[in-house]
Amino acid sequence: MGFLQDVTKLISDIPFVEKAYDFEEEELLIKGKVKLSIEELPHPLEFDVEVFKCYPLKNYDSESIKFKSLDLIEYKHVMGDGSICVHTAHHTNLKSKLNYDFISLKNWILKYYVGKEKDDHYEHIIVDEKLVHNQYWSYQFTDIEQSFEKGEFGEVTISPLLPIGTFRGARISNHIIQSFIRNNGEKLDCKWSQLYKQFNITNSGCYVFIESPPANHGKFIYTKWSDLQDHLPLQFLTFLLEFQKKFIKDRGKIFPLFIGYNTDDSNIHWQVALLELGNFPVMGYRMPSGKWEMILKHDMEIDWGLTRNSSFDYFFGRGSFSKHITEKKILIIGVGAVGSMVAKTLTRCGCKFIDIADSDIKEPENICRSEYQFNFGLGDKTEELRIILGTISPFVETNVVDKDYFQGIIKLFHKEKGSKLNFEKSLNDYDLVFDCTTDNDLMYALDSLDLKCALINLSITNFANELVCAFYPNIYNFVMNQFNNVLDNDTTDLYNPTGCWSPTFKASYNDIALLVHKALSRINSLYDSGARKNNFVIEGSGSDLKVIEF
């Protein structure tokens, strides 16, 4: 038997399939109709079925079986072409896969058609993102302090991100929204880090807040400007026309209009319509009474662009460190191999304030086992790391602490009256300080200070056999004893890059990262649970890591 006969037969055999009919073969797929009768249904439901010939395997990245019914378009999880989004599972056996997929369809019917359930979480409305001027346009927004009211509108300021990139094979221009400026002049700033706030503002647009999604059935975005007629206040249309007049010398330029709405009690989303200066979809004409009337051009299609919500919670929604770490004001002293990994991991895990201090220069040989990059060339480690952290997260604030500061601590420590107090004061401005310098003098000095902030010392033995993590106030004595007496730190085989002035331990990026990540994971859970912070040593022989608590 062929594919057509097999599929038709197997579908007919499914208990709740009353009838499978009109199945025929096309070049890439077979299609037909099914009538399903389920106890809970008052009457049978009919679906068109398409089964691609690669079935039961996937067709590229999408399902190779489709159930469609244009009558059901208002229900949840139904696409614009009437196809139902059902959860499918991997099966290589035709019969099992068909059974599974039909049961999924049945589950959808019970839950959303019969049960009329609405999901708790907001589902993005379906937008057909258009190429405009032969390219895509994207805009990312983030949280602002204030909220919007229905019908309010104003200007939007915009900065470009790096001018590189393609999107589905076409060119794309990426942007961030910097601020919304209300009609009364009040400026609502997006909560990006200073690094991004300092970007040049090169574009402007406008916004209007309409409260509910600009979509049919809450999910299919409007396609014509006339669909928006009831949602856009008259004053806003006037405002648009004035805007066009003001910038008419830029005729032809893309002008984004952000349309905002609530997605739930506390979150809003923006969709962007791409307008062209000189060809706005608004017309004004004079009524016989002499009054001016604004209307939207009826047939004109809306060119939707791309918007993404990059609010802090979305950005780190898939995983971050405990709030007891991310909200802390952090200082990292020493950003070599260990320190740069700590900085980068903290950034990716959602930390917002990470200051860094190091007087060292990045050389090419540093790159292989730290977070530094070749393209920056030679330079101060701190300055490069500051930029790297900023390129990862738009929410991290990083300041470089004066590079001679901690050298100064050691020099002045024993000599100058009052210097201790000053250092205590400036360190106590932080909540959490990481010392990743492996500098014994500094460790001694820091340990002798009277600190209110938490201080964590991280150091690694030669060949990255062990990582030693110590918490203030028992740092100096513990670490020295581990290195000098307890651990077998073989320092006869250090790596001497150029002469004897700067021997360093031997270990690869992978060796070090393994230990640093394990240590940070433990530190995170200690902060999360609020447990006592006992010093610990991670022994890393091979791939087995063992944590010993002290």
């Binding site: 004595n477 004893n481 307890v486 608590e549």
Partner: protein, 320 residues
């Protein structure tokens, strides 16, 4: 390299001895006498003679952190109320020493911190005024009422506490073995976050010696006391009665988390030292300021501290 725990702990105690800081101790004592004299001449017959207490008096002081306590027993009829007594002492000490010292109210005492002298030393004294319960009763039983400063929340409901400081001092009299262990535990506590009151460590050590047969060398004794603490403090019925006031149970100052924490600190330390004797140095540090003086002050052949008995000279030595 394994550590001889017994010898090492001797070195720890040795390097923390008060005799290493004799000059400083003398400065403390002379300031103390100055304050005592001033109090005696000001209050005259209103008070009994002031006496020393605290770790100095109890011989449990360590040279890395110490202050000097002076208790001033006050006659019942000298002041109407305890807070008038406390304020009077505070006012007098402020007037007398405030010019070159910071004088401040503390929980039950008045702290005097003298300005740094030319050697960079800071002398601090705690003066504890306490009133006898009824006129002339002090001479019989040494009981005193202390005023509890209301800035401190823990005793917010009562404004005084009855105690018998002399009984507290007597409680540890002539207990040399206990004192050594107490000093070691204080050295550990100072190095490990200062989570526990010295008085608690003192009482628990004495109780361990009273309850168990604690014997052997210094390390063995310490080990037994630590084991005793580990095994007992999480027990709800475990009490540490203040010898100065039988209504005061020092265990009440620990939360249930605090009890578990103390027990598990002891357990972890014992385990780590068991698995590698060198770890003892991470918990009980020597005072490195005085390490050099050990055994090799300026005469005699020197031997390194806590060391095994014989040497192996290093390889490949070149002579010319």
């Amino acid at each position: 390299m394994a550590t001889n725990k017994q010898e090492y702990l001797q070195t720890v105690l040795e390097t923390h001895r008060m005799s290493h800081v004799e000059d400083l101790v003398n400065k403390f004592k002379s300031k103390r006498d100055e304050v005592k004299d001033a109090l005696t001449s000001h209050y005259g017959s209103q008070i009994y003679s002031p006496f020393d207490s605290g770790s100095f008096k109890k011989h449990t002081a360590i040279n890395t952190k110490f202050d000097l306590d002076v208790v001033v027993p006050v006659k019942r009829d000298s002041f109407d109320t305890l807070d008038k007594m406390f304020d009077s002492f505070y006012d007098f000490l402020s007037d007398e020493f405030g010019e070159n010292a910071t004088v401040r109210k503390q929980t039950v005492s008045i702290g005097i911190i003298f300005e740094e002298d030319s050697d960079g030393d800071v002398i601090s004294l705690d003066i504890v005024p306490g009133r006898e319960l009824s006129q002339d009763q002090y001479s019989n039983d040494k009981k005193l009422n202390l005023f509890v400063s209301s800035d401190y929340g823990i005793f917010s409901s009562s404004t005084y506490i009855q105690t018998n400081i002399q009984a507290q001092i007597d409680h540890i009299k002539a207990k040399d073995n206990e004192r050594k262990i107490i000093r070691l535990l204080k050295i550990w506590n100072n190095n490990d976050g200062k989570e526990f009151k010295s008085f608690l460590l003192e009482l628990i050590t004495i109780k361990a010696f009273d309850t168990e047969d604690i014997s052997g060398n210094l390390w063995e004794k310490l080990q037994q006391v630590m084991t005793y603490i580990k095994d007992n403090v999480t027990n709800d019925s475990f009490k540490l009665i203040d010898p100065g006031n039988s209504n005061n149970d020092l265990m009440d100052t620990l939360t249930s988390w605090g009890r578990t924490n103390l027990s598990s600190r002891m357990g972890t330390m014992l385990d780590r030292i068991e698995s590698n004797s060198d770890n003892i140095k991470g918990y009980f540090p020597t005072n490195s300021d005085f390490e050099e003086e050990d055994k090799s002050s300026s005469s005699g052949y020197g031997v390194k501290t806590g060391a095994a008995a014989f040497s192996t000279p290093p390889d490949n030595q070149r002579f010319g």
